[in-house]
């Protein structure tokens, strides 16, 4: 790891000032991806702006029909939050299945979605639950947030402040973990709300995506049986030593059915 400057911000405003004052600064959330990357010298920022002291970024609250999760809220905190467990149990369950206890006690929702790892769990929650990502500048709809592998709509000096999850009628997440890394080979969030059905798939492609044909079928008949014979196109799906595109396509179908059954 290269030496770097460390700045601990007490607020969002302080964090932005510190970042703008650095040549090549990075926000540090839980550090679950950034720090290993720096240890391998794959990233060598000259400044880390630690967000851990910005208390306005931490916490979960219920605001009417919405659960608002602060960007620096850890996965463990989301998993164990009684409001989340009551309102969106699928979100609590998803958070409880990220990484291992060490990761869940350090990693944050803001860090995860800003990193946009194609195999991360949270993107499926954000898109599947039709969340809104609130930044220091604006609010970004879930469908507009994730662009590509490790690429989001965030601008250079834009910071995720919170994520607002509208409370669905029902939802469930099912993940097929990579046997080695335990990241999602495929993870599917299925949610039913007044606005309709959403099926968001992570792990399978460059970025989280919605399975349109599944959503349509489930809109007509919200049951696993409604998905019989349907499949996602494997053309744009990832392939690696652990799973071919065809296997991933199968897993999208299976995980979706299981999520529907669990709703």
């Amino acid at each position: 790891m290269e030496a770097f400057n460390y700045r601990k911000a007490g607020s969002v405003d302080e964090a932005l000032v510190a970042l703008n004052g650095a040549d090549d600064g990075k926000f540090l959330a839980g550090g679950m991806t950034l720090l290993p990357t720096m240890k391998q010298m794959l990233a060598t920022p000259d400044t880390l702006v630690d967000l851990a002291g910005a208390s306005e970024l931490v916490g979960v609250s219920r605001d009417g029909d919405t659960i608002v999760v602060g960007a620096m809220t850890t996965h463990a905190a989301v998993a164990s939050n009684s409001d989340v467990q009551a309102a969106i149990p699928a979100l609590a369950a998803l958070a409880s299945g990220i990484g291992d206890p060490m990761v869940r006690n350090r990693g944050t929702i803001g860090g995860s979605i800003a990193n946009a790892d194609p195999a991360a769990d949270y993107p499926a929650a954000v898109v599947g639950l039709n969340a809104t990502v609130n930044t220091n500048k604006r609010s970004i709809a879930a469908d507009d947030f994730f662009l590509d592998v490790f690429e989001t709509a965030l601008e250079e000096d834009e910071l995720v402040v919170s994520v607002s999850f509208p409370i669905p009628l029902k939802a469930a997440y099912r993940k097929f973990p990579n046997p080695a890394s335990r990241y999602a080979v495929v993870g599917v969030m299925v949610a039913q709300s007044a606005e309709g059905i959403r099926v968001a798939v992570t792990g399978a492609a460059a970025s989280v995506f919605r399975a349109d044909s599944f959503e349509q079928a489930l809109s007509a008949d919200f049951s696993a049986a409604a998905l019989e014979g349907l499949s996602v196109d494997s053309d744009n799906l990832n392939e690696d030593i652990h799973a071919s595109a065809a296997y991933r396509a199968n897993l999208v179908g299976v995980m979706t059915k299981r999520a529907v059954a669990a709703c």
Binding site: P179, A180, I241, H242
Partner: protein, 791 residues
């Protein structure tokens, strides 16, 4: 005199491990824990290419970097030899194997990703790592030989340009003509091609080494993560650096797992030893995990074609196995022995197959060296045998249990000479099979299968009857077969004046629990509490000699040496006691820590005898030396032959192909057992590694020779929740030729479990007509097979 309270710390007692107190409290002392005054840190510069020529190495920028003490390349090691191979195999034409130089640092060429090219020594690890990035190596990248079949094809690029081909040896064993004749005329022949997948050892503690040169005495000390410090002293001292034993001390303190990968002499050990003298301070090197993946010797990696000939009644007539065995880019210390004498010799298994022939070609490729890994050759033999037997059962329609029973060597047939050079001293293969069947409710399987089916799961049941050979021996035979070292073990029992005992053993514990098991042998023999016994190992400065721990040899060879040394102690003790009791030594019996004379009330305790030995005021000085310390070197008369039957039941998720091991039972014959709890733990660990090989682990190289599975992101190590609840049972036939009647248990789990697991999966997929799936049998592979059939 009142009977003493039983100690319950003797042979057969499940004593909790005395070493665990320090391990669980974080008080172990591993090599990387050792910090010597003025210690410097080394970082290796390794090849990013699988095959390349080195046109030049510019070290000037690195040498000028902050805190750098030295940058060394092959030129700095020109006075020294290459790393030796400890076993010379001869090809079937009588020629010795091809033995290309294995340089300490790359000399003009690199042959695998991770091949060490230079070393940077600096005041801190961070500074060394930064400077290492400044070493400028000018490479010309060449197309690598990664695939074994390509490497043995005509016109293949040579891994070593000074060799005639990439075939290191072309070895055979058995009667080729007899096997051919039987196969040609048999009622049935089962044929199978299979891969024994390459594994990365992944000891929990990465390798580490510290060189410490004392310029006042001219002595070198090497602290290293080794399973056998005396072997390292011998190999490195005599063959590489020309250092005499009395000027080289090798210490292997607490070592966090080895599984074979820490048997071998590695370049880093020689490098830090030389470097410490050059830079004038201790030099430490510790691998990080990524480095371990590309520098620890890997395991397995065989490509085999096997044929099993049977008569109409299912009796085995002949077995023929042709194998390509990957050696990697260089010959690691015992690499040639693994696919030959530790593999071909086991192909009789537990069966009476009269004709056996095997041909094994060792193949150089541009990959990390392959050497012994838990089981070392025996898992490969057990796997090919138990897979082809299972397939034969399917093809002939004979029940797999019945087919094995028809071919077992009978309990009254021992000693039994196999057609592949071994003599099994004892065993009872029916007994372990019966136990395993009983413990796994064989008759209830169909009902369980139906219940699984009701939940959408395919249930399968697999059996494997393994045999293995532990404690390579005797030394003279091993020498005739190519071993360049002896294979005995040494033990010293030092009885201290107040009756406590220090054992100096050449065996080495890197997790196995020697400090408990060996102490139990002492407690049992001398009738003293475990607290009064210390087991000292892992330091050539303390232990007279030893060959270390590998091949499940510790209790069978090291324990036997200890037993013999204890016998000498008791013999001398009886002479001292006889003197004290004014009797003849012949009349003195020793039991439960008391020397007594039968039929009298005369008795003297072990502690009094010990004190008398060191305070010899009332002592037969004219006939006996004072003191009570004895050493034994034990050279076994034969291997030991643990065997057993493993049964696995799996459930397969039809939608995803995910395999869940729902039952696993290991029934073993390890001979006499010193500590049943530790032995059960060894079986659990072995099964964990075997299940890992069967379902999860596999080192994958791409066509450029890059290790795709170079981290835990892609190399699939089993975790606790991947593993079944393993139950065990034991049937004992005591080894006939060592004093404890023991056989060894360290590797059995890894030997017996892969075929049991794969057989269970194939059984579960019976409706799909699949003959074989290569390991690791992943969910992806299983689903692909089911999907192809369904489509």
């Amino acid at each position: 005199m009142a009977a003493a309270e039983p100690l319950n710390t003797g042979i057969g007692d499940s004593v909790t491990r005395v070493e665990d107190s320090r391990f669980l409290r974080g008080l172990g002392n591993y090599v990387d824990d050792i910090v010597l005054p003025n210690q410097a840190y080394a970082v290796m510069v390794r090849s990013p290419h699988a095959r390349a020529t080195i046109n030049g190495i510019d070290t000037s920028a690195a040498a000028a970097a902050n805190g750098v003490l030295a940058v060394l390349t092959a030129a700095d090691f020109s006075a020294y030899g290459g790393l030796p191979c400890g076993w010379q195999v001869h090809s079937k034409d009588g020629e010795p194997m091809t033995e290309p130089k294995h340089p300490i640092l790359a000399e003009g060429a690199v042959r695998h990703v991770g091949d060490p090219v230079a070393i940077v020594i600096a005041q801190s690890k961070t500074l060394a790592r930064k400077a290492a990035a400044l070493v400028d190596v000018n490479y010309t990248d060449l197309p690598p030989m990664v695939d074994m079949q390509a490497a043995v094809a005509d016109g293949a690029e040579l891994v070593h340009s000074d060799t005639p081909s990439n075939v290191c040896f072309d070895w055979e064993l058995g009667d080729e003509a007899a096997a051919e004749a039987a196969i040609a005329s048999a009622a049935h022949v089962t044929r199978l091609e299979l891969v024994n997948n390459r594994l990365v050892p992944n000891a929990m503690e990465p390798r580490s080494a510290i060189g410490d040169y004392n310029s006042a005495t001219g002595e070198h000390t090497l602290y290293t993560t080794s399973q056998n410090p005396h072997v390292i002293r011998l190999l490195m001292g005599a063959f590489v650096l020309s250092l005499p034993e009395h000027k080289l001390r090798v210490v292997a303190p607490d070592v966090g797992g080895g599984f074979g990968s820490k048997i071998f002499h590695y370049a880093e050990e020689a490098i830090v030893t030389v470097a410490s003298k050059l830079v004038g301070c201790p030099v430490k090197w510790t691998a990080d995990r990524s480095e371990a993946f590309i520098s620890d010797a890997h395991g397995r990696d065989h490509l085999t074609t096997v044929e099993l000939a049977l008569d109409d009644n299912g009796k085995f007539l002949a077995l023929r196995a042709n194998t390509l065995a990957n050696m990697g880019a260089y010959l690691s210390t015992f690499a040639p022995a693994v696919p030959t004498y530790l593999h071909g010799t086991l192909l009789a298994g537990t069966y009476t197959t009269p004709a056996i022939y095997t041909n094994v070609k060792g193949v150089f490729t541009n990959t990390v060296a392959v050497d012994a890994y838990r089981g070392a050759g025996r898992p490969e033999a057990s796997y090919l045998l138990e897979r082809v037997v299972d397939l034969a059962a399917i093809e002939t329609g004979i029940d797999p249990v019945e087919l094995r029973r028809r071919n077992f060597i009978q309990p009254d047939a021992f000693p039994y000479d196999t057609p592949v050079a071994l003599t099994y001293d004892t065993g009872n293969y029916q007994a372990t099979l019966d136990l395993a069947l009983e413990r796994t409710d064989a008759s209830g399987f169909e009902a369980r299968k139906a219940e699984s089916a009701s939940r959408g799961k395919l249930r399968g049941r697999g059996l494997a009857c393994y045999i293995e050979a532990c404690g390579i021996a005797p030394s003279n035979i091993a020498g005739a077969l190519g071993a360049r070292a002896g294979l005995y073990e040494a033990a010293t029992v030092r009885v201290n004046p107040t009756g406590s005992v220090t054992v100096l053993t050449g065996s080495h514990s890197h997790g196995q629990g020697h400090e408990t098991t060996f102490a139990q042998v002492v407690s049992d023999t001398l009738g003293i509490p475990l607290d009064n016994v210390d087991i000292v190992h892992g330091d050539t400065g303390k232990v007279p000699f030893g060959m270390g721990t590998y091949g499940s040899r510790s209790i069978a060879v090291g324990g036997a040496a200890l037993a013999n040394a204890l016998d000498k102690i008791v013999l001398k003790g009886r002479q001292i006691a006889a003197h004290l009791m004014e009797a003849s030594a012949d009349d003195v019996v020793f039991k439960d820590g008391q020397f007594s004379i039968d039929g009298t009330d005369k008795s003297v305790g072990f502690g009094d005898v010990a004190l008398t030995a060191y305070v010899p005021h009332n002592f037969p000085l004219e006939t006996l030396e004072p003191g009570l310390e004895e050493t034994a070197f034990y050279d076994p008369k034969n291997f030991t032959f643990p065997a057993g039957a493993y049964i696995c039941e799996v459930e397969i998720d039809k939608e995803t192909g995910v395999i869940d091991i729902v039952d696993f039972h290991a029934s073993d014959d390890f001979g006499n057992i010193i500590n049943p709890m530790i032995v059960e733990g060894q079986v659990h660990g072995g099964v964990a590694q075997g299940v890992g090989q069967a379902l999860m682990e596999g080192a994958v190289y791409d066509s450029n020779g890059q290790l795709v599975t170079g981290s835990y992101m892609d190399y699939c190590m089993p975790r606790a929740d991947d593993l079944p609840n393993v139950t065990v049972s034991n049937h004992v036939t005591a080894c006939t030729h060592n004093p404890l009647g023991v056989k060894g248990c360290g590797e059995a789990g890894a030997i017996g479990s892969p075929p049991a697991v794969v057989n269970a999966v194939i059984n579960a997929l019976g409706d799909f007509g699949v003959k074989h799936i290569d390991m690791p049998v992943t969910a992806h592979k299983v689903w692909s097979i089911m999907n192809a059939k369904n489509a």
